[in-house]
Symmetry: C2
Subunit: 408 residues, 2 copies
């Protein structure tokens, strides 16, 4: 197993204060699924009146847990719901046995928590292809239910970590119709996929009251602008799961586009950025901002090609203002592009325009900029109004070390 890495240099200084969400209770436990001497299971209990929305990996080899969540997500949670998550074993590619593990865990939680099995959502994260010792999880379910208390989100964030170097949380409190609405979320993930310990998992809770279809619509759309805009290594997990539960104990939200949705978007973007900041071996946080594309889809292709290019990411690691590699990535992106209309910027520094290096650009200016820990690579294609932004990190020796040097 990979030894616990030192805290990422890009990590926030402290875990944020997360508000209690009325209608939500949490508990964590050490079930010994794989790790010893730490918690590895978390349970969230959601009171009756809750609505739940979800977004899941599209991987063709996604885990039994993901398939089970997908099947359940459209159902009604008026009688309450539960989310149980274990770290240490992903229950992915474990054949029919994996389906059985999910069934037994759901049954145990349903019985202990007094909800129906159809309202129990599970996630598993960790090693692929080994049988999930679900009996160790079901053994602690009774205690988890008994110990569940409001708050306790920071402990939950710790229990779901695998190769993460810091627990991830974010919250916003907004006023809607003169009343306070709270949003608090936790995430794990050290890349879109971590070594053996695959997976990004995100759980967000709010006390707002929102009908399930509206909740799902907001979640899906905001995902496309937050979690679907980050990449560490371009590899996609078999288990990525994002669940959003609204307990319905505060104001009712009935429309798109208000203060609540804005705050939810902020929480999601904050958590997404924290996942990048914990990218394996990361030393730089990079925003890739593409404008002037023929379409938004083209802008996305260009941003993705840059953010996933090993040559761009190693140049960033080496603090090398190697804009030729950005030209290369634009070229390979399959988006409409014209060499003679292309502009490239490092932060506010114009590097290249009209198909060549800018007359005022100096390598010293570029090299000085690249020494920063937070970078913005700007590309304007000069063709239209299409725009997209993605976030990524650099590709360093530590990434190779984490993924190659240690046997899993």
């Amino acid at each position: 197993m990979t030894p616990m890495a030192t805290r990422s240099p890009l990590a926030p200084d402290t875990f944020p204060d997360l508000p209690e969400i009325a209608g939500l209770r949490l508990a964590s436990a050490a079930a010994g699924v794989r790790y010893q001497g730490r918690t590895d299971v978390m349970l969230a209990l959601l009171d009756p009146g809750t609505t739940v929305a979800g977004v899941f990996t599209r991987s063709a080899t996604r885990s039994s847990n993901v398939r089970d969540c997908e099947a359940k997500i459209g159902g009604d949670s008026a009688g309450g719901a539960a989310i149980i998550v274990n770290s240490g074993n992903s229950n992915a590619f474990t054949g029919k046995a994996g389906d059985g593990s999910v069934t037994r865990i759901c049954a145990a939680v349903a019985e202990a928590a007094g909800v129906t099995e159809a309202r129990v959502f599970t996630s598993s994260t960790g090693v692929i292809g080994e049988r999930l010792p679900d009996e160790r999880i079901t053994a602690v379910v009774g205690d988890l239910v008994a110990n569940a208390v409001p708050g306790a989100l920071e402990d939950a964030a710790g229990a779901i970590m695998t190769t993460d170097t810091f627990p991830k949380g974010s919250a916003r409190v907004v006023e809607v119709d003169g009343q306070e609405v709270r949003i608090a979320g936790i995430a794990k993930g050290s890349g879109m996929i971590a070594p053996d310990m695959a997976t990004m998992l995100v759980y967000i809770f709010t006390d707002a009251k929102i009908a399930r279809p509206l909740l799902q619509e907001m979640l899906s759309e905001l995902s496309d602008r937050t979690f679907n805009c980050i990449t560490v290594d371009g590899d996609t997990s078999t288990s990525d799961t994002l669940l959003l539960a609204a307990t319905g104990q505060s104001v009712e939200i009935t429309e798109r586009g208000g203060a609540f949705e804005a705050a939810l978007g902020e929480v999601m973007l904050d958590l997404a950025h924290q996942v990048v900041r914990d990218g394996e071996g990361a030393t730089k946080f990079v925003e890739v901002a593409v404008t002037g594309a023929a379409t938004d889809a083209d802008a996305r292709k260009v941003a993705s090609a840059i953010a996933n290019s090993p040559l761009v990411k190693t140049a960033v690691a080496g603090e090398d203002p190697n804009w030729g590699r950005i030209v290369m990535a634009v070229g390979k992106s399959d988006a409409e592009a014209d060499r003679d209309r292309l502009t490239i910027r490092f932060g506010d520094i114009e590097v290249a325009r009209e198909g060549w290096v800018s007359p005022d650009y100096t390598e010293d200016a570029g090299a000085g900029y690249m020494k920063q820990q937070e970078l913005v690579i700007g590309v304007d294609l000069g063709l239209g109004d299409g725009a997209a932004t993605m976030w990524t990190c650099d590709l360093t020796h530590a990434y190779i070390q984490i993924n190659a040097d240690y046997r899993s």
Copy 2:
């Protein structure tokens, strides 16, 4: 500039003996484009009666040279042709100035060699975004023409190297209608793209007589099964160029599918494999063989996802039989896949089948296999007859070192 790396551990022992091709003369020179103390320009002169076919990068930011070659490739070379190639500077993303460099080089070669400008093909490989000092190249054109001799392919292979650690050549001699036909080729490339020194360049010569449309058809189709099936880092060069010239001084080939085409395919595959074997930092040569896909296109998606996955490639570097990462890559490939029909093999060792690890598989067997320098990862999707094979190398600390640790 990146210091010359030590010879790849995957390199062939020696440069092969390449036969002389009647109707072809070659010369190399040290023009000092960027490198000192080595040759950096090669010229190939092709006698009247030659036909030329070509395949080029599809990058939207491809170089002036590539655009010029594309415009010329359909023309008639009955009056003879020339190919001139420099290393050290790619003339890519050099704006309108790059077009001027190509024009001046073509004019100089045309005058000295007595061919029309429309029959001069140029390639440039090396740093992106710096003005090509074409006057240094045109200054040596007279000597190159004067010194051109039959043979001399090994010197030419040396002159076009950038970050390559060994020159690349391959040849076949086949009998067609009782007469000998010779094929000889050279290549450079240390990945689909090397650091700043972008580009894969390939020049293949034969004394066969073949009409241009047939030559182009063979080249395009064989490219899809050879050079388009290799990847080092998934990044695409702005300058990739493959030219095939048939001097017409031996037997005429009028049909597809014979001994000549088979031999040409072997030369192309050999050169393609040599490029992978010189992949930056490579220590393992990996064949990814996908079968049982719903379509050939799906098989290709799966092979590409595996061959380009940083997590698979770092696992190979670490000699870790981490088949969970192969499952992940299958899942993210966007090809039709069914967990419960998937079979994975390392060489002859069955690792996983029916959605889980194979009952007889042991980690020791897998770990032992991964210690080999040449690996075959086999994936059968169990759905249909679609198949594809790709070749790649591992992702090591040396790749990061070459691309991040040295300023270009």
